[in-house]
């Protein structure tokens, strides 16, 4: 039985976290830890990589594994180097929606395309939280943020669908309401040979809450009621891709063997 005490003793570097009260980022940390524990992977075989943003703090400093807290938008590229250099490592990237799809969108596409065997957990809170709630590629049309005071004139990206189209081996979307599904999904993603991607809708009570005019409990309720496997568009949750296909580091190793023979 995984208890809070067990988690704190084995997996968390320090607490309390810097997250605002009710922030979903702490729940996602909780979910990642439980998935790792269920899989019984030695912590030394896991590397966590993150960029810049509130969500980037989930692994660094809180998760007790080797962690690389990189520059804004680039964690997937750093993680690719780390994974290719040491394929034995299970490399988990935790990235914000702005980090992964705004400044770092190109790296996300190419990691999915090359099917490098890393796991990306993208925290979707619909905006740039750390910098004060500005519009992000995931912000809904017409939503008011600090840089769209008259409403967002642009349209939001369905990130999971894009990543699926780009060639990922595993793609799923959950919310912080769906903790058990999320944990099982993270387990599958970590064990997936190729590129795996999980989008987690997460409540940011401080800025997203203001944008949606909801508190964190209302947001969790919103997730519960509206995000369903039979819903449409961004509201559709579940596993979208789950396939096996050749993976980059393995292909590289094979090529090296061929060349050296």
């Amino acid at each position: 039985m995984i208890t809070a005490r067990y988690i704190k003793e084995n997996y968390v570097r320090r607490l309390p976290s810097a997250f605002c009260p009710g922030c979903g980022d702490g729940q996602i940390l909780n979910a990642i830890i439980r998935a790792i524990d269920h899989l019984k992977i030695d912590r030394k075989d896991i590397a966590a990589v993150s960029g810049i943003g509130c969500s980037a703090w989930i692994p660094s400093p809180y998760l007790r594994v080797d962690s690389l807290h990189t520059t804004h938008g680039r964690p997937i590229a750093f993680a690719t180097g780390l994974k290719v250099a040491n394929p034995r490592l299970k490399v988990i990237v935790v990235s914000g929606d702005g980090d992964a799809t705004g400044i770092g969108g190109n790296h996300l596409l190419h990691a999915a395309r090359s099917n490098v065997g890393i796991t990306v957990i993208m925290v979707n809170n619909g905006l740039y939280a750390m910098t004060g709630g500005q519009v992000a590629p995931t912000t809904p049309h017409e939503a008011k943020t600090t840089t769209t005071p008259y409403g967002n004139p642009a349209f939001s990206l369905d990130v999971s669908r894009v990543v699926a189209a780009a060639g990922a081996s595993y793609v799923a979307r959950w919310t912080t309401w769906h903790m058990n599904q999320l944990i099982r999904s993270i387990e599958k993603a970590i064990m997936k040979k190729g590129f795996s991607f999980i989008e987690v809708l997460s409540q940011c009570p401080t800025y997203e809450g203001r944008m949606l005019n909801m508190d964190h409990i209302e947001m969790l309720e919103w997730f519960r009621k509206n995000f369903r496997e039979d819903a449409e568009g961004i509201y559709k949750i579940g596993e979208f891709v789950d396939i096996e296909k050749p993976e980059l580091t393995e292909e590289l190793e094979k090529m090296i063997e061929r060349v050296r023979r």
């Binding site: 660094s60 080797d66 690389l68 807290h69 180097g81 994974k83 250099a85 790296h107 190419h110 050296r260």
Partner: protein, 373 residues
């Protein structure tokens, strides 16, 4: 691979040979003239030594990937030119802040912007040292021949492993694309980083202000961040002393070890009144012009920093008392000039050549002669 012996290759290829001999096992890059030949050579050579090559989606991804690979314990390199080098600047600062050994080759071409893609220039001298924001230090090497593309690439790896800094090889299209004889020696000095066997060692700074480096996967629970951090990796962006201690050490580990890093070539400096200082491709005609000046009885001397940053400051100050004029032939309007004027406290006779061409012996000689009158 790359056995001892003689080769006849391009400068870019010689750099790739040097990397392989230095023990480089990871390369990530993005094609750009005039550095693509390095990338292509690494693509061909690395798999043959069991190393990994990746062509990434851009130069930001390339430098990110080599930093990641370095934390997995592999000697890592990328190669680029002006536009790509500009894109890499943020992560050069990241590598400096996280003390990650990496090697970056910038084969300079004429800028700004796209400029003259296949023409040589030396306009990245200041950028190579000051391109990323904030206070930090790098080491910058300046090869002027195919042989040095090899030798200095080996040296770049050694320095990056010793000091845990990004080391930049500032070449140019002329040196990168020239074909010359290369001798790969029997014995090559190779330095490997000190790998920490426990967490304590990652915080134990030696006399040279560098600590052993942890490696991902060894169970040390490393916490690496580009944010201001304490020696144990804990992010602390609010305590002034934490920032001060960190940044001062990052700067001092190069500054205080200057004498073991600096390297230069000199000729006829004992009694020189006119000192010609030059680096990279323009140092070749510069040296020729000094030799010609001597033949004509002009007391000219020649000094060429092989390590551009940190500059051979002490040596230049020694020469300053005797030297009447300092001439700097260079393929840039600014180049190394500010650094020399800082050291010599006077106006330097800059001989800038812009146009994507190397200055000629005649041009430099004429300048020396008029300075001697």
């Amino acid at each position: 691979m790359i056995n001892p012996g003689e080769y006849f290759v391009e400068g870019d290829v010689a750099a790739a040979y040097g990397a392989i001999r230095a023990g480089c096992l990871f390369f990530a890059g993005y094609p750009i003239t005039p550095a693509s030949e390095i990338t292509q050579a690494m693509a061909e050579l690395l798999p043959r030594v069991g190393g990994k090559f990746l062509q990434m989606e851009d130069e930001i991804a390339s430098i990110s990937a080599i930093i990641g690979a370095s934390w997995a314990g592999l000697k890592s390199m990328t190669a680029t030119s002006g536009p790509g080098f500009s894109l890499m600047q943020e992560n050069i600062g990241y590598a400096a802040m996280t003390e990650t050994p990496i090697v970056i080759i910038d084969v300079q071409r004429a800028g700004p912007a796209i400029g003259q893609a296949s023409r040589p220039a030396q306009g990245d001298v200041m950028q190579s040292r000051f391109g990323s924001h904030g206070d930090y230090e790098t080491i910058v090497l300046s090869p002027n021949s195919v042989q040095e593309m090899f030798d200095l690439t080996v040296k770049a790896f050694n320095l990056s492993e010793i000091y845990r800094v990004p080391v930049i090889i500032l070449s140019d299209a002329e040196v990168g694309h020239m074909m010359e004889r290369l001798v790969v020696p029997e014995r090559i000095e190779i330095v490997n980083r000190k790998i920490a066997s426990n967490f304590q060692e990652t915080m134990a700074y030696g006399e040279n202000l560098v600590s052993a480096m942890g490696r991902f996967g060894d169970g040390l629970e490393l916490m690496i961040t580009g944010s201001t951090h304490r020696p144990d990796g804990t992010r602390d962006t609010g305590t002034p002393e934490v920032q001060e201690n960190l940044v001062r050490r990052l700067v001092n580990k190069i500054e205080k070890n200057r004498s073991s890093i600096e390297e230069w070539e000199e000729l006829y400096t004992e009694d020189a009144e006119i000192l010609v200082i030059s680096h990279g491709a323009s140092s070749r005609p510069s040296k020729g012009a000094v030799i010609r000046a001597r033949k004509e009885g002009i007391r000219a001397g020649f000094l060429r920093p092989r390590v551009l940053w940190p500059s051979p400051e002490r040596r230049m100050i020694e020469l300053d008392s005797r030297v009447k004029r300092v001439i700097l032939p260079e393929m840039s309007l600014r180049g190394y000039r500010m650094e020399l004027e800082r050291i010599f406290h006077r106006k330097v006779d800059h001989l800038p050549k812009v146009g994507g061409v190397v200055p000629t012996v005649d041009e430099i000689f004429t300048k020396i002669r008029s300075a001697s009158l």
